[in-house]
C-alpha cells in the first residue's frame, strides 16, 4: 500500500507510545500520532494538552493547543499550571516537540535565526511550552523533516533542552534526573541517542533510504546502531485508521 513520508512519520511516532502511559501533545503531527496510537498499539494512552485539556475524546484534530477540541469530552478541563505541574511531578511520560533547528544532543531552537538576539534575521515564536515539557516530561520525542538547515552542528539559540552539552549536563543544570530526548522521527530515519555520548544515533532507515542520504541531510556526526534496521512501513490497518479516522481532512498527512 502506498504511503507518503508524513504518514510514515506519524505511524513511527505512534508506535513509540506505550499503552497505559501519558503524553503531552500539541496540534498537528504529534496529535495525529497520539490519536493513531490510541486506535492501534496504545488504546489506554492518556493525552494531555498544555492549555488544560485532559484525556479528551478528540472529535477532530485541534487547530490550537487550547481550542475547545482539546478538552472535548475530556475528563478534566483545567489550567496550564495544573498540566505543567503534573509534568513537574513526574506523571507525564512522553512529550512531542519540534523546532526550526535541532543539534546532535537533541537541543531545539524555536526562538530565532541569526546571530544577534536583539536583531534576529527571523524571529520565531519562542519556547511556548516546549522548554517546560522537555524539562519536565520523562521522554522527549521529536518529529521533523530531515535536512541540513534543521540538523545543525550549532543552534542559533538553545530554546529547549535536549541533553544540553552531553552526559550529565541536564542533571548538572538542575533538570529532573532521568528525563531527556528519546527518539527523533524524520522523513529519512528513526533516531535514538547513544547511551554514552547522548548524541544522536540512527536506529533504523526508512525503506529506500541509504545511510549516506541521512548523513548528507545532517550537519553533525551521527552514531549508527549496528545492525542498522529498516523501518517497518505502515501497515494497511494503520494507514486506514490514519486516513479515515484520525485525519480525514488530511490536515497533517497532506493531499
Amino acid at each position: 500500500m502506498h504511503y507518503n513520508p508524513m504518514e510514515l512519520m506519524i505511524c513511527c511516532a505512534a508506535r513509540l507510545l506505550e499503552d497505559g502511559k501519558t503524553a503531552a501533545v500539541g496540534t498537528g503531527v504529534p496529535c495525529a500520532a497520539a490519536m493513531l496510537a490510541q486506535r492501534t498499539c496504545a488504546p489506554h494512552l492518556v493525552i494531555l494538552f498544555e492549555a488544560g485539556g485532559v484525556a479528551p475524546q478528540l472529535p477532530t484534530m485541534p487547530i490550537s493547543v487550547g481550542d475547545s477540541r482539546t478538552f472535548y469530552r475530556g475528563v478534566m478541563a483545567t489550567s496550564m499550571c495544573d498540566i505543567m505541574e503534573t509534568c513537574q511531578r513526574g506523571l507525564i511520560d512522553y512529550t512531542f516537540l519540534g523546532g526550526a533547528q535541532i543539534d546532535a544532543h537533541g537541543n531545539l531552537n524555536s526562538t530565532m535565526i541569526g546571530r544577534d538576539y536583539a536583531r534576529p534575521d527571523v524571529r520565531l515564536p519562542g519556547s511556548g511550552g516546549a522548554n517546560d515539557l522537555a524539562s519536565l516530561c520523562w521522554r522527549i520525542l521529536v518529529v521533523t523533516i530531515h535536512d541540513r538547515r534543521r540538523f545543525v552542528e550549532r543552534l542559533d539559540f538553545l530554546t529547549t533542552p535536549g541533553y544540553l552539552s552531553g552526559p550529565g549536563a541536564r542533571e548538572a543544570a538542575g533538570l529532573p534526573p532521568g528525563t531527556g530526548p528519546y527518539r527523533v522521527i524524520t522523513d529519512l530515519a528513526v533516531i535514538g541517542y547513544h547511551e554514552q555520548t547522548k548524541r544522536m544515533e540512527v536506529l533504523s532507515l526508512h525503506p529506500g533510504v541509504g545511510l549516506e542520504k541521512v548523513r548528507e541531510a545532517t550537519g553533525f556526526e551521527l552514531h549508527v546502531r549496528e545492525p542498522l534496521a529498516v523501518t517497518e512501513p505502515p501497515t494497511e490497518a494503520e494507514l486506514r485508521i490514519l486516513r479515515e479516522e484520525v485525519d480525514p481532512h488530511r490536515y497533517c498527512i497532506g493531499r
Binding site: S64, M80, P125, N131
Partner: protein, 335 residues
C-alpha cells in the same frame, strides 16, 4: 552561592510583594457596580507605559474587543506578557511601524509572532525583527508561574524548567538551591501586570466570573493584576452567581470593569459558544504581507469602526456567528 547562573534579561515589572500590597491596598473592595463600555474601561484603566497582559490561550477565549480598543485609543509604549499570545499579539503589533507611534515597547516572550499551526504573522515578525521592541525570553509555564507568584502575593516562585538553556540566559530568572534538599531550581520573579483583560463566559456586574473549559493562566492572571478588565459573553444576575458559588473562578475583588461583549472572543474560539473563524484569521495573516494593504485592512476593521459590534458586522455579523456556533458544536458535521 554567587556562582549560580542568572539570566541577563531585564525586568519589565516590579516583583516586590510589598509594593504590590500597597497597590492592592488601594483597590476598592465593596460589591459595587462595575458595568461599563469597553471604550470607557480602556480609557480609564489602560495607561501609556503600562504593563499589559491578556487572558486566554492563543486565539481562544480572547478579550478581542479590549485589544482593538487599545489600538483605537492609541495607547503607547506598553510592556506585554507574551504568554501564548497569538492573535492578541498580532493585533497589538498593528500599533507599531504603521505610523501610529509605538504601541508595544517591551515584551516578555513565551510565545509570540506565531499563530500556532496557522503560521507566523508577517507584521509581528517585522516589528520584532526591527529591534524596536525589547524582548526577554521565558516559557509558557515559567511566565504562568510568574503570574502565580503575584497571585500568591509573593516576590518569586521556584520551578524546574528553563534551566541550562539560552531561554534562561535571555530571561531575568536566577538559579537557586532548595534550602532543604539542595536541588537546583529556577527562581522566577513575580509578575504583577498593571492592567489585564480576560474574556469569560458569564459575569455579574460586580465582576464575579465563570469560565467553562480550560482556565489556562487566567485564575492566576486575574489575581496578579493591579487593574483588571473583564469582558463576558453574558452578564448574569448576582443571584445566579450566589446560587452556585462553586462555579465562580474570579471574584469581584480582583475586577475593576465589567463589559458585556457578545462574541467577544471572535475571531478566536469561545469554548461551548463558537469556534474560531479560520477564514478571517487566514485573511489577516495574508494581508499583513503588504504593509499598505495591511494599513487599509486595519482602517477597515479596527481604526475606522466605532466599536467591536461594528467589527463583527464587517466580519459577517450574526449569520457568520451562527456558522461558527454550529462549528463549535460539530453541527456542521452532521451531528
Amino acid at each position: 552561592m554567587n556562582s549560580l547562573p542568572q539570566g541577563t534579561g531585564a525586568l519589565f515589572a516590579d516583583p516586590s510583594a510589598n509594593r504590590a500590597r500597597e497597590a492592592f491596598a488601594a483597590k476598592p473592595r465593596a460589591l459595587c457596580d462595575k458595568l461599563t463600555t469597553v471604550a470607557d474601561a480602556v480609557a480609564r484603566l489602560v495607561r501609556d507605559g503600562d504593563y499589559l497582559a491578556i487572558g486566554g490561550f492563543g486565539a481562544n477565549r480572547l478579550p478581542t474587543a479590549v485589544v482593538h480598543e487599545v489600538l483605537r485609543q492609541g495607547k503607547q509604549d506598553l510592556s506585554f506578557a507574551g504568554h501564548t499570545a497569538t492573535h492578541d499579539f498580532q493585533i497589538l503589533c498593528a500599533g507599531n511601524l504603521t505610523g501610529r507611534g509605538r504601541t508595544l515597547a517591551k515584551v516578555d516572550v513565551a510565545y509570540v509572532v506565531g499563530l500556532e499551526a496557522r503560521g507566523l504573522s508577517p507584521h509581528a515578525r517585522r516589528v520584532i525583527e526591527s529591534g524596536e521592541v525589547e524582548c526577554v525570553e521565558w516559557s509558557n509555564y515559567t511566565l504562568a508561574v510568574r503570574l502565580k507568584a503575584a497571585a500568591m502575593g509573593l516576590p518569586f516562585l521556584p520551578a524546574r524548567s528553563l534551566l541550562g538553556t539560552d531561554t534562561f540566559r535571555h530571561s531575568a530568572a536566577k538559579v537557586i538551591v532548595c534550602p532543604f534538599t539542595g536541588e537546583k531550581l529556577v527562581a522566577l520573579p513575580a509578575l504583577y501586570p498593571d492592567v489585564s483583560a480576560i474574556h469569560v463566559h458569564e459575569a455579574d456586574r460586580y465582576g464575579n466570573c465563570r469560565i467553562r473549559g480550560t482556565t489556562v493562566a487566567d485564575i492566576e492572571l486575574a489575581r496578579a493584576s493591579k487593574r483588571l478588565i473583564i469582558t463576558c459573553e453574558r452578564l448574569i444576575p448576582n443571584d445566579e452567581i450566589r446560587r452556585d458559588p462553586t462555579r465562580t473562578v474570579i471574584p469581584f475583588l480582583c475586577v475593576d470593569a465589567v463589559c458585556e461583549v457578545h462574541y467577544g472572543s471572535y475571531p478566536g474560539n469561545m469554548p461551548y459558544e463558537y469556534f474560531s473563524d479560520e477564514d478571517h484569521l487566514r485573511r489577516w495573516l495574508t494581508v499583513e504581507k503588504d504593509l499598505d494593504a495591511y494599513k487599509r485592512f486595519l482602517e477597515e476593521h479596527v481604526y475606522g469602526v466605532k466599536d467591536f459590534a461594528e467589527y463583527l458586522q464587517r466580519c459577517g455579523g450574526l449569520p457568520r456567528m451562527q456558522q461558527l456556533r454550529q462549528r463549535e458544536f460539530l453541527l456542521d458535521r452532521g451531528r
